[in-house]
Symmetry: C2
Subunit: 244 residues, 2 copies
Amino acid sequence: MTTQAQRHTLIGVLGGMGPLATVDLLQKIIEETPVSRDQDHVPVVAWNVPQIPDRQQALAGTGESPLPALLAAVEQLNRLSASHIVIPCNTAHHWFDALAQKSEAPLIHIADATLASVEYLVKNRAKVLRKIGLIATRGTLDAGWYQQRFAALGAETLEPDEQELATLFVPGCYAVKRGELQQGGYLLEQLAQRLIDRGAEWLVLACTEVPPALAAINSRWLDISLDPTRALARACVREWAMLS
Amino acid sequence: MTTQAQRHTLIGVLGGMGPLATVDLLQKIIEETPVSRDQDHVPVVAWNVPQIPDRQQALAGTGESPLPALLAAVEQLNRLSASHIVIPCNTAHHWFDALAQKSEAPLIHIADATLASVEYLVKNRAKVLRKIGLIATRGTLDAGWYQQRFAALGAETLEPDEQELATLFVPGCYAVKRGELQQGGYLLEQLAQRLIDRGAEWLVLACTEVPPALAAINSRWLDISLDPTRALARACVREWAMLS
């Protein structure tokens, strides 16, 4: 039976940052939809056009702003009557408010989607989360989206330090962008280990390049990791499945 | 350096048949693009909306035509100024001419893309192909797209019989659509075995649900299989990389 919500749902994916992270989200939307035939899957239109200036460089003041390209993509998704827009790139959420202002379709924030998954975890698995390790870009760490939400749950956030970002996170992330997932995975696993050593009980993989990299090496830390890309996929499925 | 061809390339993917086959194509486009950073990847917009009547049922006379939904999708991709349109579903190519007629952007036929890959194989690996096993839907087999192209290369095509289609192919294919890739893989591997037993030296996996299923079980037949989804991905990359 098609519900009212389903008839009006078309998830617009503002992707390309990087293209593999977008494919990872699309894959996870399918995995998170419990259906028996093609026609029951979530309708998605994915703008996977990676010709967008580098987000990390823009925030570091060493590259041009991606905002014009992001706005153009939001416009295209609205032209297609997307009902909701999601962005499988954490760092790009720096421009979230500017994009939401220009979009008829509401944007779903990846940190809100992640918070819903953390709350589910706490409630259904009776986990007490005191220390969460946050793996993210400098731009995402500075923005504080995750730290503020975790603090509201009474959890402390552990962050990578500058040296860990420069020697483990950034090269790991750019290895994924080059298609070298295993190399990226080994670097990012070392970063995960550092945060665990400092007391993190749980990890949040808040850069969309990280989950495919850790999956590629079947990292032992995946069992205690929370994946914002999967949380975003679940949020899309919830919009699709919601009864009117 | 951005070439003239790159500035004007936007690959439109008419997907959703099924959604996983579309994700598989997007993944293979990325794998086939030898680049070092996000911005060098092929720009793609994917219409992954699976609310399209079942193609196999339509051709068997037991379901409604998917043509109106396909035409609407082609119209959307043209509105976005797609430069080329590809369809990661072999059976849907039954409506290829009707769609091409209504599309400003040229459509790339998956069997043409596959022929280019077969020719490459013959030329570069000095393979003599005498007997090719074709794994496909009843609709694709009846259409003759692959058989005609293989005959032009001097190769004979071996096809599944009705019982193999009914007991191995169709349940294998619909298992993938339900997300049961391993179960699909085991059924489709049995079908591959039958064609090999009858003398096939090479297999062409001409239903886009088949490559992910055989990959899920790491099938031993993948080494002698040609994947039209990957061939289509290569055709997309060629359009992107082509010098003006």
